[in-house]
């Protein structure tokens, strides 16, 4: 399959607007290095977190003298430390992503945009491609200058193979299970039986999971009727089907049920879900849809 052009996906104006965005996290993770995200670690940060009884050795600058005046007990003020954050991008590179030319391109641009935001916020960005497991990985990227490497990595991805989300998450947790952070899964989630268990596996390891469900208008509303031979881009024997409007209605119902099931499952576990329809311009998707889904702020 020919690879779409993936050179210079964003213009300067768009990048400037991306820089103003902030990747929201519903949870707080502990990081290693100073960054713009609050950490679970309490220390010399800017954001007040809590009090604790004074213990010998505490920094006397952190004693809350006002409180001492009221209750005549010494309390030390605790602040959250602003640290960096792990952003794991799992980009679906299975063959189904390339069934339509625009779909894979759109997914990679979406991942690139969010990665750009993370890198701008000095997060550690892990880029991985997956199909039947994690097939390609990029060493951790950090800092704004790593954007070029991120784009280069994404542009070299090739869509092939079948989708196996469970195996992918198994591979992921083997490698990064000991870490904390946010996992952004950019996929069409056409592993019907594996999508929810795979997300559960990530939740089990304490990751915050954000699902970017990339779909095309044709997947949402098929426009072909009559006798067709339906071919799975991920392989398998084509099968004949007489496509009727009634069947299409059933398809849409099934597709919606799958999406809804995934969304509800993620939201129930403080995860995030956004459906990225490729017909929506990427800027609108980033600046409106992701913000509306409270993934970006």
């Amino acid at each position: 399959m020919t690879q779409p052009q993936f050179e210079a996906p964003f213009d300067a104006t768009f990048l400037a607007r991306l820089q103003k965005l902030h990747l929201c996290s519903r949870r707080i993770f502990s990081g290693r290095m100073h960054a713009q995200h609050v950490s679970r670690k309490l220390g010399a940060g800017m954001e007040f977190a809590d009090y604790r009884p004074y213990a010998p050795g505490d920094d006397l600058r952190l004693l809350d003298w006002n409180l001492y005046g009221r209750v005549e007990k010494l309390y030390t003020k605790l602040y959250r430390v602003e640290e960096d954050r792990n952003l794991f991008f799992l980009v679906d590179v299975s063959a189904s992503m390339a069934a339509e030319r625009k779909k894979f391109d759109y997914a990679r641009k979406l991942a690139a945009a969010v990665a750009y935001i993370g890198l701008y916020e000095m997060d550690r960005v892990f880029l991985m491609g997956f199909s039947q497991g994690i097939t390609v990985t990029q060493p951790v990227l950090r800092g704004r200058k790593a954007v070029v490497e991120a784009l280069y990595f994404l542009s070299r991805l090739k869509a092939t193979g079948e989708t196996d989300l469970v195996q992918t998450c198994r591979d992921f947790t083997k490698i990064h299970g000991s870490k904390e952070g946010m996992v952004l899964v950019v996929s069409d989630f056409l592993d019907l039986d594996g999508a929810v268990p795979a997300m559960d596996a990530l939740f089990k390891f304490g990751f915050e999971v954000l699902a970017l469900h990339v779909v095309t208008p044709r997947e949402l509303r098929p426009d072909f009727l009559g006798e067709w031979r339906l071919a799975d881009p991920e392989g398998g024997r084509p099968h004949a089907a007489h496509i009727t409007r009634r069947l299409i209605a059933r398809y849409r119902q099934e597709f919606t049920a799958h999406s809804t099931r995934l969304r509800r499952h993620l939201q129930a576990r403080q995860g995030g879900y956004v459906r990225a329809v490729t017909s929506v311009p990427l800027e609108d998707m980033i600046l409106k849809e992701l913000r509306a889904g409270h993934l970006l702020a």
Partner: protein, 630 residues
């Protein structure tokens, strides 16, 4: 139900072609397009094992049904009443022979026959088919089988009576074979209707019906049935006319008989010819400047036609050129032979006794007859009962008594017009033939009469003594001698059939140019046929046929000596399958037992079929929508 717009073959071909097209389109449409769908797992989940081929098959069946009905509608189907009579395929054979030009009543028999044929055509039913054939001495189809009366009427307008006789059985056989391939369906009745002025004894195959219809009412006709001229014998000049007038009617009739040339009347006589009798006359004619003499009968008063059939009222003849044939008879005394030769007015006979015979005797002779003597001769010679010996051209094998004669070979000039099969011969000797000899008469053991041509000299050997047979007592004897002289002198080679009747085969002189042809009595040129090295012509007009090339000139009279055609009535006895028509409506038997009053026009069915097609198309559309939706 029966198709009126298409034959079963045409309907089958039409529907097959349309059905084939529909099936091809169906098969092409059955080749599914391929769509690559990323959401194939969802599709597989909802499609499962659903298969819908029966829906398309049902659609194909509907389309085929529509095509079938459409083809049916094009075929103009009609539902026939259950009691409908079977259709008839009819071969209407119309006699156009000479007798159809008989005038009776207000018109000719031909006109009556055409009226009848037209009435039959008008009475045809929608399922009946008819062809038209003209019958004289051959049978000619005039148009293919049709149900269109106007087409038949148009073809009838071209029919004219000819001047030859009819041959009914071959015509009926031809019509029967035509009906075999008419293809009007299994229930059709094959019927031959023979329209003539008389009934014919003909047979048809058992599966066919034959109806004979006779038109015409006249019962009177007189004809010149014989007319010949010969030069007067001896020293007398002029010629002698012999003629015969026959009355084929029942009543005695008076007619005016005229002997005339083209320019002048030579003589006339009022003849009273009793009914069914023949009157003969002979007249002497003075020498004439022309060689063409005609005999005509007309009404005794007024000079009009003698009867309603004028073709046989005139006969044609040529005055023969007087020629003297010098013949030597070498005999010891045979009056049978001598007198028979003397009877021929053109023979100048010289009788020589055998002991006085010298070759010099033959110096001025054109032919010699040897009777019991055998000498070599430098001129054509006949040897009666040749004794053999050296110098004798004929040798004999052995003598037989009362031989049983085999039929005479009839295609030789010598045996023309005679038969010798019952001649009694007391004693004969079988001649020894040589290569090239023609055996004219023989018994079971060998030839008795041999014709030979050697070094351009013609010889005839007769292996018996005429005085020891009854041959001299027969009419055939002088004819035989006459034929021999004709053959010897080469006069029989040309115009051997100079006096011919219409329809007879006439041999033309060899010098006639076949491409130029000869001129018939009405002035048209007709081309003879070359058969076996001879130029033959079958004349179809009474009168004089002429040919000319350089200084050579040939004239042959052709007479209407067709007795069957001259008979005014013929066989008109009515019987089953035989009907006489006198101008009333066509009998039901003739017109296929078809009565329009009993047989209402079947209603048109194609509008109903088109309505059914519309309903089917609507159903097909609904079914299509159903297929798309569900």
């Amino acid at each position: 139900m029966r198709l009126f717009g298409l034959t079963p073959t045409e309907f089958t071909l039409l529907f097959s072609a349309a059905a084939l097209l529909a099936v091809i389109i169906y098969l092409l449409a059955f080749r599914k397009r391929t769509a690559v769908v990323a959401a194939d797992p969802i599709w597989r989940k909802i499609v499962g094992k659903r298969r819908t081929p029966y829906r398309k098959l049902l659609a194909l069946l509907i389309q085929l049904l529509v095509l079938f009905l459409l083809s049916l509608a094009l075929g103009d189907p009609r539902f026939l009443p259950a009691r409908a009579k079977p259709p008839v395929s009819m071969a209407l054979v119309v006699d156009v022979s000479a007798s159809m030009s008989f005038t009776d009543g207000g018109g000719t028999r031909m006109n009556r026959a055409l009226e009848f044929a037209a009435a039959v055509a008008d009475a045809m039913g929608p399922r009946d088919r008819m062809t038209l054939m003209a019958m004289d001495d051959s049978c000619r189809p005039l148009l293919p089988y049709t149900s269109d009366p106007q087409e038949i009427r148009d073809a009838l307008g071209d029919l004219k009576p000819t001047t030859v006789s009819e041959e009914a059985q071959p015509a009926v056989d031809f019509a029967a074979s035509s009906l075999t391939g008419a293809g009007s369906g299994d229930d059709a009745v094959g019927r031959i209707v023979l329209v003539s002025d008389r009934f014919h004894a003909v047979r048809v195959p058992p599966r066919l019906e034959l109806v004979q219809v006779a038109v015409g009412e006249s019962t009177e006709n007189l004809a010149v049935t014989a007319f010949d001229i010969r030069p007067r014998g001896g020293a007398a000049r002029g010629s002698e006319v012999f003629l015969e007038v026959a009355n084929y009617g029942r009543r005695s009739r008076k007619v005016r008989l005229s002997i005339h040339t083209r320019e002048a009347l030579l003589g006339e006589e009022i003849l009273e010819v009793p009914g069914s009798e023949v009157v003969t006359r002979s007249y002497f004619l003075k020498p004439l400047e022309t060689d063409r003499v005609m005999a005509t009968i007309t009404a005794a008063r007024g000079g009009g036609p003698a009867d309603g059939f004028v073709l046989d009222d005139r006969a044609f003849a040529l005055t023969p050129e007087r020629s003297t044939r010098r013949v030597v008879l070498v005999t010891s005394g045979n009056l049978y032979l001598e007198k028979a030769l003397e009877l021929n007015p053109s023979v100048e006979l010289k009788v020589v006794a055998p002991e006085r015979y010298r070759p010099a005797v033959l110096s001025r002779a054109q032919a010699v007859f040897f009777d019991g003597v055998c000498q070599p001769a430098p001129i054509p010679a006949v040897y009666f009962n040749p004794p053999g010996g050296s110098g004798c051209p004929f040798a004999y094998d052995l003598e037989v008594e009362f031989p049983v004669l085999l039929p005479l070979r009839g295609d030789h000039m010598v045996t023309r017009g005679i038969t010798l099969i019952d001649v009694q011969v007391q004693q004969a000797c079988r001649l020894l033939p040589e290569p090239g000899d023609v055996e004219l008469l023989s018994d079971h053991g060998g030839p008795l009469i041999i014709a030979r041509q050697k070094d351009s000299i013609r010889l005839l050997g007769i292996g018996f003594d005429v005085s020891k047979s009854d041959l001299p007592l027969r009419v055939a004897f002088p004819i035989l001698l006459h034929n021999v002289l004709d053959w010897f002198l080469g006069e029989a080679d040309i115009g051997g059939f100079n006096e011919s009747g219409v329809g007879d085969l006439m041999e033309l002189p060899a010098w006639v140019d076949p491409d130029e042809g000869i001129v018939n009595p009405v002035g048209d040129r007709v081309a003879p046929r070359e058969v076996g090295g001879k130029l033959l012509l079958r004349p179809r007009q009474p009168g004089y046929y002429t040919a000319q090339r350089g200084s050579r000139r040939w004239v042959a009279p052709v007479n209407f000596y067709l007795e069957d055609e001259s008979m005014p009535e013929g066989d008109r006895r009515e019987a089953p399958g035989r009907l006489r028509w006198r101008g009333d409506q066509p009998p039901a038997l003739v017109v296929a037992g078809f009565d329009k009053a009993e047989y209402p026009e079947p209603p048109l069915q194609w509008p109903v079929i088109l309505l059914a097609i519309a309903w089917l198309l609507l159903f097909d559309w609904i079914f299509y929508v159903f297929r798309i939706l569900f």
